[in-house]
């Protein structure tokens, strides 16, 4: 297992290096100038040049890259051009908020998809399958910015029972009941498409499993569908779900950018969005690289869990 993990690491490092180059280049290719955002609309060209110099933007592009990547490797993320303050503090605060949102959305998606998938396989009624299919299709077809706005309009404006956005004023742990209310709408909005994808794959995997010879034999011996699904088929279908979950987690982080904007959730998505708009190069570079790193780690983790669950993979990987 250790050798399997070790074998996966070099490709992850290469991906991260290439990603750092790509992110840095793309940011420099985007038209616009952070010095202008700082200088304001009535600045003179001389003031802008002075600001550009103070930000180190008058150096050559390779020199800027080497300086940045060197600092990142020593965990000195620098200061935000626009917001002031250490980027590490900004990232930690934003990452914490995004982790709470994405984590609760992921949990919600896993729980909902498990319930729905098991239900449609244990009770293969046509109406139940149709209802779940329609819900799945709607969840995938409606983009986050539509479901988000709809949820806010219904549950925050028309029937004002939940907050329309923001994070709990006193922090997450001070009042768990209040925290839960702040989390419901953004988590649900973010979880819906993930739930749909997981449900579709998991229910199909369960159905495939239920057609296996050992299941037919067990049914002939009088084992109930319930016991077969929950005690055997589900375990065998979980690797499929894990693979999809890994991919969906990446999509979920991408979706968080929109959901955070709709629900004024101060996570890394909002930070990236604002950073790009105002050309806050160091913040955006760090956040994009962090996103790639998280994605790479999730894929790595998925592979490891996959290998743990299915020995053929780790044996084949040697």
């Amino acid at each position: 297992m250790f050798r399997y993990v070790l074998g996966r690491l070099p490709s992850a490092v290469v991906v991260l290096f290439l990603a750092s180059l790509l992110i840095f280049s793309v940011m420099r290719l985007v038209p616009g100038d952070p010095a202008l955002a700082l200088a304001g609309p009535d600045a003179t060209p001389e003031s802008i040049e002075a600001i550009r110099h103070s930000l180190g933007l008058d150096q050559s592009i390779p020199a800027q890259y080497l300086s940045w990547i060197g600092d990142v490797l020593t965990l000195d993320l620098g200061r935000s051009f626009i917001l002031g303050g250490q980027i590490s503090d900004l990232v930690l605060a934003g990452l914490g908020n995004t982790a709470v949102l994405a984590g609760s959305a992921l949990l919600l998606a896993v729980v909902l998809s498990l319930i729905l998938s098991v239900a449609v396989v244990v009770w293969p009624k046509k109406w139940l399958t149709s209802v779940v299919n329609v819900l799945n299709t709607l969840s995938v077809a409606l983009p986050n910015f539509v479901t988000g706005v709809l949820l806010v309009l219904v549950f925050a404006v028309l029937i004002p029972v939940l907050p329309s956005g923001g994070v709990p004023p006193g922090g997450y742990l001070a009042r768990p009941d209040i925290t839960l209310q702040y989390l419901v709408l953004p988590s649900l909005c973010l979880a819906l498409p993930v739930t749909a994808a997981l449900t579709r794959f998991l229910s199909e995997a369960l159905r495939t499993e239920m057609a296996q010879q050992y299941v037919i034999t067990a049914q002939a011996a009088g084992v109930t569908r319930w016991n077969l699904v929950t005690r055997s088929a589900l375990r065998n279908a979980l690797p499929t779900m894990l693979t999809v979950l890994g991919i969906q987690t990446g999509h979920l982080l991408g979706g968080a950018v929109l959901v955070e904007a709709i629900f004024a959730w101060p996570g890394i998505g909002q930070l990236i969005q604002q950073g790009i708009g105002r050309r806050d190069y160091p913040v955006v570079q760090v956040l994009l690289l962090l996103s790639v790193t998280i994605f790479v780690l999730i894929q790595l983790l998925t592979d490891i869990v996959h290998a743990y669950l299915d020995p053929r993979i780790r044996i084949g990987g040697r």
Binding site: P31, V161, L162, L180, S232
Partner: protein, 534 residues
Amino acid sequence: MNSSFPTAGLDRRAFFRGSAIAALAILGTGSLAACSSAVGEQRSDAGESVDPVRGGTLTLAIPDDVTPSALLTSTTIAGITISGLVFETLTRYPLDSVVPQPLLAKDWKLSDDGLTLTLNLRDDVTFHSGRPFTSADAEFSLRTYADPKFSAQLRSTAAAISGYDSSDPNKLVLTLAHRTGNIFDLLDLAPIFDSETFDKAVTGESFIGTGPFVFASRTPNSSISFDRNPNYWVAERPFLDRVEARIVPDSQARLTSLKSGQVALVAPGSLTFRDSQTVGKTDGFETTALDGAELQTYIGANVTAEGLTDVRTRKAVAYAIDRERIMSEVYRDAGYAVNLPWPKSSPAYDAAKNSTYARDVAKARALVSEVGTLPTIPLTYTGASPDFEAAAQIVQANLAEAGIRVELDPVEATIFFKQLIGAEFKGLWLTSHTFAQYIPSTLTVSAYPFNAAHNASKFSSPAYSAAADAAWQQPDGSSDAAKKLYADLSTQLLDELFLIEIGVVVQQVSAASTVRDLSWTKGRQPQFANTFLA
């Protein structure tokens, strides 16, 4: 046979129990609101009183976070909010005139030659740190304002101060290099910083001023909080205990935050005019116009671009634009059409001159015919702004009627500013400017589009420069003598038309009806010392 299958797993009862718990957790969270509601707690500050009452937290939505190092350019609403709540200035204009009123300066005297301004300062003011405010702090603040690295808009006026005398802690004597008609604009706009903690303001760590509210905390990209200043020099003020500014970048989210009661106020200019109008007609909410703190929407012209070098083309544009339609459809009648930048409260306002280019498509067509064949002219604007998008489309249609083909060129705000400052527009551009609500000469010496020395239109004219300088150096900016000079300046603007004004736009602020006595400065900085929750 069952024993051959794994036994560690869910049984049917556990599945149902788990599903029920999950369903309850998901769907029942709303019912928690009945006993402990996040929404209810947000609204708990509101009572029913209409008399000023002490206490409560005012929550407002702002679109962006502060850029601390750009605090003096006031380009973000967060920066303006901090400036208005935490800091004060030496003098303050009322909203309806440019006659300075005392604030941190009790009174003042301008010498007969207009070159020395003596300001007597209040002696009962302390910074939030507890340190007394002195003339040295005023000198530090004005010197900081003049520092080119901060790009403050009235830097040229601050730079005209050639000497400071702050030997008396309660008196500041300013020596001016030349007569400066807009010196009180500077004193109205330049925040007075605590010289000992200014470095922390630039990094965003702390903001120490003398204002009615004390900076309490800032969570970047999330919120900025302010507490009541218990030692404020105005007795019994402010009424509010706390102001909390929440950063809500999305316009639609700001609207729903207000409608759902999560915030009681949305900062001026943070909703579209259509949304502001709708909110104003909704029970429980009010939309107020910020008269005296106007913006001006205009079309700029690069006078060196092909097709725009001939002033007749620019005049054709001025005649062709349907200003009334733009003011009505885009700005929902929150303002009025003009040909010159000055709002009605300005000493330079001239109703007659404002009809110089009343819409006349036939005249526009005739001028285009005189000029001959014109190329397609790009019209650049900030695409993210629904107001500019709508205005640009109307302008395109108007100019097409006059025979001028326009290609819309929506760009990002950052790129737009780059083109504005770098004078890189390829043809026309559409945006708004401010500062016309101050002493008129401020516009021509400080606002970049109008700057006689260098501007985005690449326009230069000795006559315009002379008129701008003459107006600037008139000591009393609202005197009759000054008005004559402004008339000359207006004539130059109308004749040259490097900037074609569309209308004066009065910003709107939408709030819950429970928020009373809201006030702003001419620079749209919130003045919440008298604000209370009814």
